[in-house]
Point group: C2
Chain length 142, copies 2
């Protein structure tokens, strides 16, 4: 039997009119202390709409759903179809009130379960020799 | 009942002598196609040594285990004690052979279950107005 681990939502993404919010569940309120000292956060959320065996068995995709991009292993992409449906995205905090974090924006659907929030600490100039493949610059199919 | 999601290890961290490796499980081999075109990856792993109710109930810590750092909510830190024990770390790829990724280094223990690998794409100069609290520069207690 394959070992597995349980994760639980610590909140949910809410998109209400033009506002982008994370509603943190009340039992986790204490974990927000000091978050307002950061301008940006990492948000880890669950690609809940892909939580079916076929999507979790997807190992190769055309990045950004563009057939012109080469077939690529999901670990070399940020595809929402992958074995563990964890999304990683950086967001700017607009405000925090009680257990509601307002963001500038997030690339998540309304209702997405949030698994974790981590403070964002910029890299100290290590980005100078980063290498990425050509398709990163191609974008989605027009 | 609280909803929960299952995650499974897609590989494990191995530290053998001076080498730092991720052994990806064979069923996930196809997901590695194209990863060698990147110099860096995000590695999401499980803080398996903290997988006990007390650690998952920890909501506030002194960052970097330094009592001089202010008591801070775990969502405003990268603490290994947190509701969902997901670690996030950026690593440089040294080589990839079959299902073994050799890294320069990783801040994980030998045996840590790896949940996901994502390509690292540097930010496009958005880091200019990032704000972090003072304790980020304090480090661990001497």
């Amino acid at each position: 039997m394959t070992q597995s681990f349980q994760v639980v939502p610590i909140g949910h993404v809410r998109k209400i009119n033009d506002r982008v919010l994370i509603h943190v569940e009340h039992p986790f309120a204490d974990a927000l202390l000091g978050l307002g000292d950061f301008s940006h956060i990492w948000v880890l959320y669950w690609f809940h709409e892909n939580d079916i065996p076929e999507k979790r068995a997807t190992l190769r995709v055309h990045p950004m759903k563009n057939p012109k991009n080469p077939l690529t292993g999901v670990f070399a992409t940020h595809s929402p179809a992958r074995p563990n449906l964890i999304a990683l995205t950086r967001c700017r905090i607009r405000s925090i009130e009680d257990t509601v974090i307002e963001l500038d924006d997030i690339d998540a659907l309304d209702g997405s379960p949030v698994l974790d929030i981590k403070c964002y600490i910029p890299d100290s100039g290590e980005d100078r020799d980063v290498r990425v493949p050509e398709w990163i610059h191609q974008g989605r199919e027009k």
